[in-house]
Symmetry: C2
Subunit: 195 residues, 2 copies
């Protein structure tokens, strides 16, 4: 296998990149600025050395604890629980939420052998012990596993006297009724609000 | 900018990769095997050192001349002229063509300042001088520029007594009349064959 095919094969292992796109990417690299290619390559090989898990919330960070956990201006009475480190960036960039985060590292999925012990749930419980946190907002995805995980967290957290809420599920803004599936529609009705 | 954002920004510079896909790719790299990341990175940074232009046909190769130009089993009486190095691999993998190739490195596009002198046309002419080649098949894309380039090559090459042909243009196999544009349909009629 020559260098072109080798790189194409590597590119096609990345998610969402098929064989044809991989070849296009290799062509781009072949024509790109040599220094840019070097920088890009070192960003890839060095990423895991620079990024670690925040020992408090479990999200990805260069400094431990992460900028969010160590930001004293944030609301320390709320923790938003998410599945993946990337969800933190998604929610934080919306500007809607000013509290802290907690990354589970997945969802409860018995069929895949993932139980509560495989997730960062006990560290969530420890963070609630000193009584500062008043509300836990569960922002797992609106899937069967995400809902199961939310229910589990509700059970263990509310036993500690902390209120547990779940992100609203419904029509996406700008969406169209025609393209909404039946389950979402059912949730839209159940969660309807007075206008 | 932290290491995650830096890599996401680099990924999003690649063709066909938007901001959201770039973040997905960074997440993949974060979780991938450390050795795989190193290998992938070195494939990127090393590609341009390993790959050069074949001095005969202009396609990309690790050895000069390229495996196709130096393969004595191939039909040396035909040269297929293509726009880009990647077209060589596409045509060669079809198994339909057993002759040699010649890469122009683009097409005649006066508006972008690309004339015949900016393409590898004079080296094509030199390859025809010894009289071995009997046919030049022009496989530029069926676009205005591709057609213009094909006509230009037809003019200079047929003056040397070498026959010039053009790949058939028409309905793609498995295609549907409904989705074919008017220009293609016009070519389908002009190029109709007796059954």
């Amino acid at each position: 296998m020559n260098a072109i095919d080798e790189l194409a094969e590597s590119f096609s292992r990345l998610p969402g990149i098929g064989k044809k796109s991989a070849v296009r990417l290799v062509n781009y690299i072949l024509k790109a600025d040599r220094d840019w290619n070097r920088r890009f390559a070192s960003q890839i090989s060095g990423l895991q050395d620079k990024i670690r898990e925040c020992s408090v919330c479990g999200s990805w960070t260069e400094k431990d604890p992460c900028p969010i956990c160590s930001d004293m201006m944030r609301d320390r009475t709320t923790i938003c629980v998410v599945e993946q480190p990337n969800d933190v960036a998604v929610i934080d960039s919306s500007g809607e939420y000013k509290g802290l985060f907690h990354v589970l590292g997945g969802v409860i999925a018995p069929l895949e052998g993932v139980g509560p012990d495989n997730l960062r749930i006990s560290s969530l419980i420890s963070r609630l012990r000193d009584g500062t946190v008043k509300e836990v907002i569960v922002a797992t995805n609106p899937t069967v596993e995400g809902d199961t995980t939310a229910l589990y967290i509700q059970r263990v957290v509310s036993a500690m006297g902390v209120s547990v809420t779940r992100l609203a599920s419904g029509l996406p803004v700008g969406g169209n009724l025609e393209y909404v599936d039946r389950l979402t529609l059912a949730r839209c009705f159940r969660g309807r609000t007075k206008i």
